[in-house]
């Protein structure tokens, strides 16, 4: 149905563009043809539709469209035909040819032009053939799509003429598919039907599949065999696309996990600090985005599309500074006592949550998506939303950036030295307390950045962080402490496994399986997938 609607919109656009040019010459004759619709019974209406189509003028399309949808009325006083839409108690009238508003009318003053199912089919086919010759290729594709949906044999001739004249490859393809669909529904000979099945099987999507399943049950002989074969082939390709879609969802979930866990991997891996307030850093990042957007809304609405870019450094700084404050204020007194650190940071997380709740209120805050993050596109038979795609890209960028910082900068060098052997690093003159504070700040700041990204796909509420903390720990523990590659692999694996379990076990049970799996996995490899080996572990 929505396709028909979009066809209508396109038709209106085309008609709007074309009609002024035609207005001088043809409007009068067209109007008399349209007004003729007001008279007569179904059989006559069919002829009148035929006459309208025979003009070959796209300007009649809106009238036919309205007729099919039951929106075409005539005024009892002068038998003039209008497109009428109910508006409260009265009807707004639109001229079917010029599409200009013509005032309104009461219920009694106008009368609907009746159509039956047969007429509707005729109209659909007529619209298809009318628009197959339109100048806009999008309109032609939509027209072919309409015929494909209707599988109307009446459209075959129109399609063949259109195909002969068609130059655009995409449109040709759509027309050929529509042609095939129409042929299969007609009583043409077997050879043509076989060719049609072949065309559809190459098309390979769900629509072709349902069409072919219909053909399989309605036909016999070679066509039936061909259809069965084609159905199997399409089912296989759809299964493959489903797998691809699942992998994509998994990667998408995995990149969310990666974003949430990567900061934790740094603090946990480098400093051995269990930071239970990590989720709250994510939350603070999300709220920073909210504040930035609020300010932009009130003072500079034009910048809205850039709000995330403005929020990123701010979120990094805010969360990073809070992280450093936590490290300097609390955690440094607790080094060497991991269990106490866990409890203290849990306390901090409660305080931060309540603080945010007091300032921003307990309800969800709305963070908007900029234009470039909303919408979706199709890749083969998968639908990919832009916000998910950008988050995957962003997660990988953050990961790469972090790797770069750790491998290529002096700060990274010091950090790695402290991770591998704290006392040795201290002996070499590295100020380990500073490295600790900065590393903790870095981990927290990255959590803040993650918050900016997650604000685009999750509710921004004081509890935002809590939803991620256990998952993040699972990722870090699964991937192995002190190894960012482990975190990447861990996050992606868990994401994909989760999404593959979901169809079989449901979302919740899938999650439980994953948790149980990790619990068992830790038994086998207590230090994760990519454990640090050598002296670092023993020391």
């Amino acid at each position: 149905m929505s396709n028909l609607k979009s066809v209508f919109v396109l038709l209106c656009l085309v008609a709007g563009l074309v009609s002024p040019a035609l207005a001088q010459s043809d409007t009068a004759s067209l109007r008399s043809l349209v007004d003729a619709l007001a008279k007569g019974k179904y059989a006559e209406t069919e002829q009148q539709i035929g006459a309208l189509v025979a003009t070959g003028d796209p300007a009649v399309a809106p009238a036919l469209q309205a007729l099919g949808a039951g929106d075409l009325y005539f005024r009892k006083s002068d038998a003039q035909v209008f497109i009428a839409k109910k508006n409260g108690k009265r009807f707004t009238l639109t001229d079917p040819l010029t599409l200009e508003a013509e005032g309104d009318a009461g219920k009694r003053e106008i009368k609907k032009i009746k159509v039956n199912n047969k007429l509707r089919r005729v109209i659909r086919a007529a619209l298809g053939s009318l628009t197959l010759m339109a100048s806009d290729p999008n309109v032609r594709v939509a027209a072919a799509g309409a015929i494909f949906k209707a599988q109307d044999p009446a459209g075959i001739d129109a399609l063949e003429t259109a195909l002969a004249a068609e130059t655009d490859d995409n449109v040709r393809l759509a027309m050929e598919q529509a042609h095939a669909a129409a042929v299969l529904n007609s009583d043409l000979d077997e050879a043509q039907k076989l060719a049609a099945v072949e065309t559809l099987s190459e098309m390979g999507n769900r629509e072709a599949l349902s069409l072919l399943i219909g053909v399989r049950s309605n036909s016999e002989g070679a066509v039936r065999d061909a259809a069965t074969h084609a159905v199997e082939k399409i089912e296989k390709s759809i299964a493959a696309w489903n797998t691809a879609q699942n992998i994509w969802y998994g990667v998408s979930l995995g990149s969310v996990l990666l974003l949430a866990a990567i900061g934790l991997a740094i603090t946990f891996g480098v400093m051995g600090v269990i930071n239970m307030a990590h989720g709250e850093m994510v939350m603070i990042g999300a709220y920073t985005t909210f504040v930035v957007q609020e300010i932009i809304r009130t003072s500079a609405p034009g910048l809205f599309d850039y709000s995330l870019f403005i929020a990123l450094p701010l979120a990094f700084l805010t969360a990073g500074l809070i992280g450093i404050a936590i490290e300097r204020g609390v955690i440094r007194w607790l080094y060497g006592r991991p269990l106490e650190t866990l409890l203290a940071t849990w306390g901090i997380s409660l305080i931060l949550q309540q603080a945010v709740r007091s300032v921003f209120g307990p309800t969800n805050r709305e963070v908007g998506n900029p234009d470039w993050m909303s919408g979706a596109f199709e890749l083969g038979q998968m639908t990919i939303t832009y916000n998910r795609m950008w988050i995957v890209v962003f997660a990988l960028l953050v990961f790469a950036g972090l790797m770069l910082v750790l491998k290529k900068t002096p700060f990274g060098l010091y950090t790695r030295a402290v991770t591998q052997n704290r006392r040795m690093a201290a002996s070499m003159g590295i100020r380990t307390p500073w490295i600790d504070a900065l590393t903790f700040g870095l981990g927290s700041g990255i959590a803040g950045i993650a918050g900016v990204a997650l604000s685009q796909i999750d509710n921004v509420s004081p509890n935002l962080g809590q939803g991620y903390i256990i998952d993040s720990f699972m990722v870090v523990v699964f991937g192995g402490v002190g190894n960012l590659w482990g975190t990447l692999v861990g996050a992606m694996t868990l994401g994909v496994v989760n999404k593959f379990l979901e169809p079989y076990a449901g979302a919740v049970l899938g999650k439980i399986f994953v948790l149980v799996f990790i619990i068992l996995f830790i038994q086998k490899r207590p230090r994760g997938l990519f454990a640090l080996k050598g002296r670092a572990v023993e020391a």
Binding site: I274, G336, L350, I351, Q354, I470, V516, I519, Q523
Partner: protein, 412 residues
């Protein structure tokens, strides 16, 4: 045998605790039932229930203290065992409703009728009998803890890793119990109980009885914990806490010791949950929330880990504060609780009781050294107390604790 085992648990401190508990167990129900309304000594029923709830929390804290304070296993999932015990009791109470439910089905609880279930799932069989439910209260948490501990301790998962997977355990159970098709009432849990062992669950006498039962369970569990920690077994546990590898090299099967206290502690938590449910009248999956388990740990930390009595004290104090705050200043409560976590870990690493003990023994030492001849002042408790307090926690001085800081695991 049993009496001598329990007798070993007795000393001055245990005596004080038991005396206080005995007074509470007798006076509170008496104040509720015997003292007439209007008298200043009358204890209102809601207060009895509230204090009964505190006692079950205290029992849960005791269970956590046994594994954390004495064996160094920081469990962030003990609320799971608590809730499992609670569910076992809740299932018994559901079956007792009988035909008095909204739908009046003699066997199926209301929520099953509502979900269109035709017959009772197999795991609900037997829960119409109290002895069976009581057995399950012990066995279900015990069994889950045993299996979990079997895997965890054998593969030597320790320290924070263990804490995190206990948290994952309770989180997984939380998600599972939220599901309607698990047959435990889903989101709403089990509620609308009518009576227990034939007594009306709303009646004052039943409430007083439940209070007394909670008190007795707490006392009994305390005696068991006390006798364990003062036995040779207890010494090994403390040694495992402080130097696990060394104990292993000395030839002890560390995982067996851990598994034993872990399972016992889970069963105690289960009993606590079973006593909790009839008093609050509901059990739902929210009890599995990881946050609950962590809160229990802070009760123990406030009271003083490795002191047993401290756990009880901490649970009662923190929960009393919670009740008061959430009524008077609900905004402040999470700040206060969060601050408590930070404050206790930073400034009171031994908890209230541990700090008092330290002060007490320091005072005694000074007195002893000033007057040598005065040797009758009880030399035993001094030695005992310093053993009980956790030895692994260094004072909060950064310079000292820095040495082995790079690892999430304890130094051993």
């Amino acid at each position: 045998m049993m009496t001598s085992f329990l007798f070993r648990a007795m000393d001055a401190r245990a005596g004080v605790f038991l005396a206080i508990m005995a007074a509470v167990i007798i006076l509170v129900p008496a104040g509720n039932l015997l003292v007439p309304h209007g008298s200043p000594f009358h204890v209102p029923t809601y207060a009895v229930t509230l204090m009964g709830k505190y006692l079950t929390y205290a029992l849960l804290a005791l269970a956590v203290d046994l594994v954390w304070g004495y064996c160094g296993i920081l469990s962030l999932g003990h609320a799971a065992f608590f809730a499992l015990g609670g569910y076992a009791m809740g299932m018994y109470l559901m079956r007792q409703i009988g035909t008095r439910g909204v739908y009046g089905d003699p066997t199926l609880p209301d929520f099953m009728v509502f979900l269109n279930w035709q017959e009772l799932p197999w795991y609900w069989y037997g829960f119409d009998m109290f002895w069976f439910a009581a057995l399950m209260v012990l066995l279900v948490p015990g069994l889950i803890a045993f299996v979990f501990g079997w895997f965890a301790f054998r593969s030597r998962v320790t320290g924070v890793y263990l804490s995190i997977i206990t948290q994952a355990l309770t989180y997984a159970l939380l998600l599972a119990f939220f599901r309607n098709d698990m047959g435990f009432g889903g989101n709403n849990g089990l509620t609308d109980f009518k009576d227990i062992l034939g007594f009306d669950i709303q009646a004052d006498t039943t409430r007083a009885g439940l209070f007394a039962a909670s008190g007795l369970a707490l006392v009994l569990s305390y005696m068991i914990c006390r006798s364990i920690t003062r036995s040779k077994l207890g010494k090994v546990l403390v040694a495992v806490r402080d130097a696990e590898s060394r104990i292993r090299f000395l030839g002890y099967r560390v995982e067996h010791y851990k598994l034993f206290v872990w399972t016992l502690s889970a069963m105690m938590a289960g009993v606590a949950g079973a006593l909790y449910v009839p008093q609050v009248g509901i059990i739902n999956p929210g009890e599995f929330a990881p946050a609950n388990s962590i809160e229990v740990v802070i009760w123990v930390a406030v009271g003083g880990r490795g002191t047993l009595v401290g756990a009880v004290l901490g649970a009662v104090l923190v929960n009393f504060a919670k009740t008061w705050f959430t009524a008077a200043l609900p905004e402040i409560w999470l700040f206060a609780l969060g601050g408590l976590f930070v404050f206790v870990t930073l400034f009171l690493p031994k908890g209230i009781l541990g700090t008092l003990n330290d002060g007490w023994s320091a005072l005694r030492q000074r007195r002893n050294s000033s007057g040598q001849e005065d040797g009758t002042g009880g030399p035993r408790p001094q030695a005992k107390q310093s053993e009980d307090a956790p030895a692994s926690t260094p004072p909060p001085v950064p310079a000292m604790s820095r040495a082995g800081a790079s690892h999430p695991q304890p130094a051993e």
